[in-house]
């Protein structure tokens, strides 16, 4: 997550400025609008992802060892991620 979001912010800001440019030809403007729409959709997914990572970090900070197995990136995938929680409980 670290620097990724800062770069994303810059990209979004640049795109805003491009759209605000009055001197664009109709064709370029159309292109910029399409690009902006795509960026919005992707940026939404990126923010959701970043939020998940933050939640994982919070979980680890709050509960430590107990949750490490369920957080693949932190816990090296010992439990194969949250999808295996049900299996573990049943066992």
């Amino acid at each position: 997550m670290s620097n990724g979001m800062a770069d994303l912010n810059d990209l979004l800001f640049d795109q805003l400025n491009k759209l605000a440019d009055k001197g664009l030809s109709e064709k370029s403007l159309g292109q910029e609008i399409n690009r902006a729409t795509a960026m919005v959709a992707i940026a939404d997914r990126l923010t959701d992802n970043a939020e998940l990572q933050l939640k994982a970090a919070h979980l680890f900070a709050a509960h430590g060892e107990r949750v490490v197995d369920y957080l693949p990136k932190i816990g090296h995938g010992n439990a194969g991620g949250a999808g295996n929680v049900t299996k573990k409980i049943q066992r």
């Binding site: 979004l12 795109q15 805003l16 609008i33 923010t47 939020e51």
Partner: protein
């Protein structure tokens, strides 16, 4: 078979014969009924109310509507209230100020979570000599001038009680709508602080696209 609550014969106010008389005469007006009752029975210790109560208790209808009929004129219409010296002494005097009157400078929190305060300015709606304003809005306008049309003030850090003008920015209503967490989309208020700037930018970008497309179709 006697049921619960039946009085002993010696305790009953009206004999069976008396009840039959009342039942027969129940269509009379109350005062007239009582007059005739006293004449017939000699029992003037029975009041009008007691006869009426007997009628109600037994469900005998008198044929008159038991509510005010349209066009009913109050018995005391046009009469002035009689004020005694004692009652006048207890009135609020002109210029009386309620004990819980708050003056300018009083701050409180409104039901929707904004800090509001009373300021020393005439109220344009009621003409009173002071008015209640939202503190964040009041301070922001003092610093930055009126809020541009089509814009609203958005709380940056999520703490609405932080009324410092730097914590509030004027955004177009559309942008605010796009970051308010409806349809499971981005929710600025509940997002972690690290992600708030991104959400704001994405909403602004989406609004810019919308504006351009709207401009084209007009």
């Amino acid at each position: 078979m006697a049921t619960q609550g039946v009085r002993a014969m010696s305790q009953r106010k009206f004999s069976d014969k008396e009840k039959q008389w009342v039942k027969r005469n129940v269509k009379l007006e109350n005062a007239e009924l009582h007059r005739r009752w006293v004449k017939w029975s000699g029992r003037d210790e029975i009041s009008v109310a007691q006869l009426v109560s007997l009628r109600h208790r037994n469900g005998w209808k008198c044929g008159r509507p038991q509510r005010y009929v349209k066009g009913h004129v109050p018995a005391n219409k046009g009469k002035k209230a009689k004020h005694t010296e004692k009652s006048i002494a207890a009135f609020f005097k002109p210029g009386h100020v309620p004990a819980n009157r708050k003056g300018p400078g009083y701050e409180s929190i409104s039901s929707d979570g904004y800090r509001q305060m009373i300021v020393d300015e005439p109220n344009p709606h009621t003409g009173a000599n002071c008015r209640t304003v939202q503190k964040h809005r009041w301070l922001w306008i003092k610093k930055n001038g009126p809020v541009p049309e089509g814009h609203k003030l958005k709380c940056v850090d999520g703490d609405k009680l932080n009324c410092d003008p730097s914590n509030w920015i004027a955004l177009p209503t559309g942008v605010i709508a796009r970051m308010n967490g409806s349809y499971g989309r981005r929710n600025y208020n509940s997002a972690p602080a690290e992600l708030k700037p991104t959400i704001l930018l994405v909403s602004k970008l989406e609004q810019a696209v919308f504006d351009h497309n709207k401009g084209k179709s007009e």
